[in-house]
Symmetry: C2
Subunit: 252 residues, 2 copies
């Protein structure tokens, strides 16, 4: 009688963390923020400006929901205050939302208090939903975001700030870019993520011309901000990681 010893290789159960894409702040409660890193995405222009300010040496960026908070915190910290509505600096604040306003020669070592319509709001919603960690992302810091998410190995929500709760393309394209770069490290069963990656792959080689079809482009280009918008879809030109800690975004 022969006895065979059979060795069977059983690969370890998949332990990949889960990635979802949130297309509108209105849907945030459908996802498990408490067990996720939430990436706040507001390509035009809050999160592009935040990473640019930190890349150029800002000490921190304090995102606030209201203009009143912006003014009072700015005063108490002797900080720079910034915010726009409809392409103009809000009365009572000092600067606007353009990344071009924050070169190293101006922002290095300073604190920026920033209020915006969509990105700031989603960031506070993520905190209210108990997000495990909050970072911000946009094309200028694409690689820093991807590397961080791979390295942490936690669940991820790619949070598109949208436009007053309406779906927007530019934030979705950035979510798609992240997915395209890191998908092998995550479990992705999420139609929003499938769509976002498809849209990114479809348009990655004509990004600048495609983005000119979006509603937000038409809104901002009317204020003469084409150069800003071109910068905001350029990968890795301000490649640091804005990480939310104790009320402010700092270099992570």
């Amino acid at each position: 009688m022969h006895i065979f010893t059979v060795s069977i290789y059983l690969p370890p159960m998949s332990q990949k963390p889960v990635l979802h894409t949130l297309l509108s702040p209105r849907l945030i409660d459908l996802y498990d923020a408490a067990n996720s890193i939430v990436v706040i995405i507001d390509v035009f222009r809050a999160t592009s400006t935040i990473t640019t300010a930190l890349y150029n040496g800002a000490q921190k960026v304090i995102p606030v929901a209201s203009v009143d908070d912006c003014i009072s915190i700015g005063k108490s910290l002797q900080a720079i205050t910034a915010g726009e509505r409809d392409g103009k600096i809000i009365p009572g604040l000092q600067y606007g939302n353009s990344p071009a306003e924050y070169p190293r020669s101006f922002i290095e070592g300073k604190t920026l208090v920033l209020t915006t319509t969509n990105g700031t709001r989603l960031l506070h919603m993520a905190l209210d939903n108990g997000a495990d960690e909050v970072i911000t992302g946009s094309f200028p810091n694409l690689s820093a975001v991807c590397n961080h998410l791979i390295q942490k190995g936690k669940n991820v929500i790619l949070g598109c700030s949208a436009w007053k709760d309406r779906f927007n393309l530019e934030d979705t394209l950035f979510a798609g870019a992240v997915i395209n770069h890191i998908k092998d490290h995550f479990t992705i069963h999420c139609d929003s993520s499938l769509m976002a990656e498809d849209m990114y792959v479809l348009h990655k080689n004509d990004m600048y011309s495609f983005i000119q079809k979006t509603t937000h482009w038409h809104r901002l280009a009317a204020y003469g901000l084409e150069k800003d918008l071109q910068y905001c879809v350029t990968p890795d030109v301000a490649n640091v990681l804005p990480l939310y800690k104790e009320g402010a975004l700092i270099r992570g």
Copy 2:
């Protein structure tokens, strides 16, 4: 002295109606339902089943929000009751949500009372938001929907029923198919619509294989419904127009 008379041709102001795509029922209040035709889209499978039943001669389909309503209205009208949860007929009801259950030999001349998770809910939300007109759409009646929208010349909301408020691909692909066919007749400044058409054009020639990547496919295919799902993405196989009138969907 010379006097020049200059004739300037001024084209008439664009009078095209406006088209938007709604990606989740949760966002319905962002759009002007009261001045629009709302197209309820629930490709897998409510609106595919509704058009199939009407195409095969059903007198009307009554969409109801709750199982209790389904049972009581079914009794009082001596009608067929139908509804599923998790791929099984709901206890107390007679039939399921599959279009294959409603051939002419069975449904002709009868009334169907139907409850579903997503499509029925969005339909009632559209009515609650004062929609000017409610119709239903899915691939089996693609041409009927397109022809109706062109002929009416009113504002349109393509309403994706989604999955428990989460974005889904199959409803978005149908919205994209409609846009691809009728966009010349409408003003479209809406990122959701741009995306939906892009996704449709990208996948119209591999619809059946692409749709197998969606989360809803995985959910339903587990119940052995692949044939149903294939039917639900086939254009114009039950090409009538379900129009909501006095509490029921009838052939419009």
